[in-house]
Amino acid sequence: MTEVYRTEPLAGAGESGTALVIHCSDPRYQVHFHEFLRLGLGLERYGLLVVPGGAQFLTLADYLPKFSWAGWRWVKFIGDIAPPTRVVLIAHDDCLWYRHVRGRQDNAAMREKQVADLRRVGEALRERLGELKVELYYARLVDAAASFEAVK
């Protein structure tokens, strides 16, 4: 194999994380998520689960059980090799996966469902992984920037 790139030395990189972050795959948000995690939350290293819809896949045990089955096994694996003490779940505005799974909904109803899912997954993670600091956030695009709100 031929080397094509060598990174700069990065503080905190290369070490196991004590946080688990779950967010959506949406390309509009990736750079904003990275910035928020590093600069907004001060997270240098974290295990990362990224799929369309973010943490919603952990709520689908009845509706789409294969997503949920796979998702909880991935969570268990991460919990076994690097038990997190902090979990960050991020949902975002105009999530195309939610529209894909749930059909046409107005923005308010969709946000309400997303927030309910964040809370539900946060509780389920506490039950399965033990004492955790669980933080929930909701992101929206504002022109070329992104705004992150804490969800209580």
Binding site: M1, T2, E3, V4, Y5, R6, T7, E8, P9, L10, G12, A13, G14, E15, S16, G17, A19, S25, D26, P27, R28, Q30, V31, H34, R38, E44, R45, Y46, G47, L48, L49, V50, V51, P52, F57, K66, F67, W69, A70, G71, R73, W74, F77, I78, I81, A82, D94, L96, W97, R99, H100, R104, Q105, D106, N107, L141
Partner: protein, 148 residues
């Protein structure tokens, strides 16, 4: 009443990227994608073992089923013409006893899985550019090698 959603279509993006969840590599992946591959906009699919889940149709089909459904959604939504698959050294997912891999053979296994997935991607999504990389940590840095 359903509101109009003018932003409910994702603009064309540089790539769909699949990599592992492992914490040690996340900042390096971000730097590699931005500075190494010059990708400004990309969709991410990150789970333990990264692309490996897509090879598990015969042994752990629910991982594979979920992975391919998400990939189909991402490829449809993003209209991406490029797929980037990254495996990494000392991947603890590959070392999990459930797979029964010989530890000495894991790097070769990972490379073979990436090459298999290049063919599978062509079957699923037609002619796309599929780039395969293998990452290793080295002295506080990460080096990325291309898998041919």
């Amino acid at each position: 009443m359903v509101e109009a959603h003018p932003s409910s279509s994702t603009p064309a993006v540089g790539a769909v990227v699949i990599h592992c969840s492992e914490a040690a590599f996340q900042p390096y992946y971000q730097e590699f994608l931005k500075r190494g591959l010059h990708l400004e906009s990309y969709a991410v699919f990150a789970v333990p073992g990264g692309p490996h889940c897509l090879t598990l149709a015969d042994t752990f089909p629910r991982f594979s089923w979920a992975g391919w459904r998400w990939m189909e959604f991402l490829m449809q939504q993003t209209k991406a013409e490029r797929i980037v698959l990254i495996a990494h050294d000392d991947c603890r997912w590959y070392h999990d006893p459930r797979f029964g891999f010989d530890p000495k053979g894991i790097p070769a296994r990972q490379a073979a899985d990436l090459q298999l997935l290049r063919r599978r991607m062509a079957e699923h999504f037609g002619e796309k550019r599929v780039d395969l990389y293998f990452a290793q940590l080295e002295g506080g840095r990460a080096r990325f090698e291309v898998v041919t």
